[in-house]
């Protein structure tokens, strides 16, 4: 009897608790920034927002980069999409938009509050068929970062052309210095090199039409620049550390930050990790992969991309979700974001000397000088074709693949996907 009473009391309490929670409007929010620095910002932002909006309950969850790719797919398949969710730009986000899973933000972002908040370069990769499907959160680009001490010891300076870059690599090799630290165990690392080279060797209009499978079937992925780019990537193999395919990116980065190699291809959002390392003591600089003379692509594109937040098409709380996104991308919050996380916010004017290190500011300035962005290849191509490139990124270096064959396979996969669209 006592047990029964306790159970009844308990269930009554639970029921009233549930009723109490229902007075608030819940907005579910899933992102991929579980790192302590990032969580510090997001938790503070959520708390500040909830304080000024007592009727809103933001239910936030964060999972890491790789698992996020699985989780969002599972949620999509089981129709449990969070109201606000993270996405990379390019094809990763476009496929949600293509299947009608995203809320159209075009008109909302025309509102006066949002006016001039983001650059075109940050907005465009989050568009599909002219409709804005995402709010950019940060922008990111990839640079060749170098150790100034090693460069001075070997009498080197930043290269102006790709040919100079290769000479510089040869010099380092001859002097017994490992030129480039590279960890390609998870082969997304390779797609950054390959994507950058594709952009340099293939005209932009041809390339983007191929990536989005809008080219004529007979021309799809037939431009010879792709094969040349893969050959160039294969040649770079002589300049990487040993065992590239067995080394995680973070391990390679550790060895570069410890001053063991001359250079590494590093993301802007990784710049904040340099302070306190041997690299910091040696001094460091960066340059974009230099232009290839005579190649047909756009030589002034930077590899990188914005990433951002999407609102689910199934949401019942679109206005609340939008309002929250408006809040976390407001100039004040964006400055806070840069200061706390070391990331480069997509909000114009948020990365300044006050909020970021001089290298991050310089990195963002260099990005503004670029003609545009070559998005991360594995998030810009369709998944099936990208997977062939991902595998080839390892196989080309271990001598288990030939550039012509790789592109033939990409073409075959792309044709199959094109038929289904």
């Amino acid at each position: 009897m006592n047990k029964l009473l306790t159970a009844t009391a308990l269930s009554a309490m639970l029921a009233s608790g549930a009723a109490f929670a229902q007075d608030k409007t819940a907005v579910t929010f899933l992102h991929k920034y579980p790192e302590p620095e990032s969580m510090e910002f997001f938790q503070a932002a959520v708390a500040a927002y909830e304080e000024s909006h007592p009727d809103i309950d933001i239910q936030m969850e964060a999972v890491a980069d790789e698992p996020y790719k699985d989780k969002i797919r599972v949620l999509m398949a089981s129709d449990q999409v969070p109201d606000i969710f993270f996405s990379w730009s390019g094809e990763f986000g476009r496929k949600f938009a293509r299947d009608g899973r995203t809320y159209d933000l075009t008109d909302a972002l025309k509102g006066s509050e949002w006016e001039g908040r983001f650059s075109e370069a940050a907005l465009d990769p989050l568009r599909f068929e002219g409709k804005q499907f995402g709010v950019p959160n940060n922008v990111n680009a990839k640079y060749m970062v170098y150790n100034k001490e090693i460069f001075e010891e070997n009498g080197l300076k930043e290269p102006e052309t790709f040919a100079e870059f290769v000479d510089l690599l040869d010099t380092l090799n001859e002097n017994g210095v490992t030129p480039i630290a590279y960890g390609n165990q998870a082969p997304w690392a390779a797609t950054h090199y390959i994507g950058d080279l594709f952009a340099k060797y293939v005209p932009s209009d041809v390339r983007t039409a191929d990536y989005q499978l809008l080219s004529d079937p007979e021309n799809l992925y037939t431009h010879p620049g792709y094969v040349t780019a893969l050959e160039q990537y294969q040649k770079l193999g002589e300049y990487f550390n040993r065992g590239v395919n067995a080394l995680p990116h973070a391990a390679a980065r550790g060895s570069f930050f410890a001053g063991r190699t001359a250079m590494m291809y590093v993301e802007l959002v990784e710049f904040y990790m340099v302070p306190g390392s041997a690299l910091e003591e040696a001094g460091w600089g960066f340059f974009a992969l230099p232009p290839v003379e005579g190649a047909e692509g756009d030589q002034n594109l930077l590899t990188g991309a914005p990433e951002g937040f999407l609102i689910s098409a199934d949401t019942d709380v679109a206005d609340e979700a939008l309002d929250f996104l408006n809040f976390i991308t407001s100039p004040e919050q964006a400055k806070e974001y840069v200061k706390t996380t070391g990331m480069t916010s997509a909000v114009i004017g948020s990365v300044t000397d006050e909020t970021a290190s001089e290298e991050v500011v310089a990195g963002l300035e260099r990005l503004e000088e670029a003609d545009g962005m070559a998005l991360w290849l594995d998030t810009d191509m369709d998944t099936q074709s990208a997977n062939i490139i991902l595998a080839a990124g390892q196989a080309l270096l271990s001598g288990n693949a030939e550039p012509e064959k790789v592109m033939a396979d990409v073409r075959e996969a792309a044709l199959q996907v094109q038929e289904t669209r």
Binding site: R73, M76, A77, A186, V244, Q384, A391, A395, N400
Partner: protein, 297 residues
């Protein structure tokens, strides 16, 4: 004639009631999903798509024509063969040696504990530790080889398509051989001691005692462990995913990683379901063989 069944029905009703909850659980969470999976494998759809397209057996014809499927199946078979050699033959030998009172009991206990320890570590931790140990240039193993003057043996074990899967398999053996050995020690202790003493009095050699007494005595355990090992090798996923994710260039892909990749990387859920169905039927066949073998004894 017509009354007896009712009596047995009444008797069996109680039995049915006892097993009903478990049965219901199995139908809801095991048989139901397995059947749903077979149905899914006849469609083409992604996690994003709102509708499914019926494609019949197209997923299966694509799978059987896919060279990656052959790679994965071969790797699973290699996994099973090597695991049986290590975790059955080698572990049984270890168990027999440790139980044969060759070593003083303190040493035997230390060895047993040391061999058993890896199996209590989480697979992900084991994978990451070995990844660091095996890392080229900065890893302990590579450095040890250079120090010992065996520099020419040094290689990127996980980064080389020829060695990646075998490296992962060996790490798996390192983790599980001690666990299986402990099971065998229990089995050997169940064999009456006086049989051993009798054989020793007759002056039988250690090898003869092993093959004529230990092996037949532990036959049941050997059979079960072999089946568990083969099934485990067929379903393996975690250690491969952590250490190589099926790379480099798909050389260490197994059926589990292939299935995962199809669902969560390529967005082809239907195709992934067809791989799951194939794994299911292979496992079912092995299970049936096991039941038959046990009946024969």
């Amino acid at each position: 004639m017509s009354r007896r069944p009712t009596a047995t029905f009444r008797q069996s009703l109680t039995g049915w009631l006892w097993v009903a909850p478990t049965l219901l659980f199995l139908v809801l969470f095991v048989y139901g999903p397995a059947l749903a999976n077979i149905r899914y494998s006849l469609f083409s759809f992604s996690a994003m798509s709102q509708s499914k397209t019926f494609v019949g057996l197209a997923n299966y014809s694509q799978l059987f024509g896919d060279p990656l499927f052959i790679t994965a199946l071969t790797n699973n078979i290699a996994y099973a063969v090597i695991s049986v050699i290590f975790q059955v033959a080698f572990a049984l030998t270890l168990a027999a040696v440790l139980e044969a009172k060759i070593f003083p009991s303190f040493a035997a206990n230390s060895f047993r504990t040391m061999l058993f320890l890896p199996s209590i570590l989480p697979v992900v931790v084991v994978g990451l530790i070995w990844q660091l140990l095996l890392a080229p240039t900065m890893g302990l193993i590579d450095q040890a080889l250079w120090e010992m003057g065996l520099g020419e043996w040094s290689r990127a074990w996980l980064g080389d398509p020829d060695t990646a899967i075998f490296t992962v398999i060996m790490v798996s053996q390192w983790q599980w051989t001690g666990y299986i050995m402990a099971l065998f020690m229990v089995a050997i202790r169940a064999i009456p001691r006086d049989l051993y003493e009798a054989m020793e009095l007759e002056g039988a050699s250690g090898a003869r005692i092993f093959f004529n007494l230990t092996v037949p005595g532990a036959r049941e355990t050997i059979l079960i462990v072999t089946i568990i090992t083969i099934l485990g090798s067929l379903k393996v996923f975690d250690i491969v995913w952590v250490m190589t994710a099926g790379g480099p260039n798909h050389s260490s892909e197994v059926l589990g990683t292939l299935m995962y990749r199809a669902a969560f990387r390529d967005d082809t859920i239907g195709y992934s379901s067809s791989i799951a169905t194939v794994i299911f039927f292979i496992a079912l066949t092995i299970g049936v063989v096991q039941i038959k073998l046990q009946k024969d004894h």
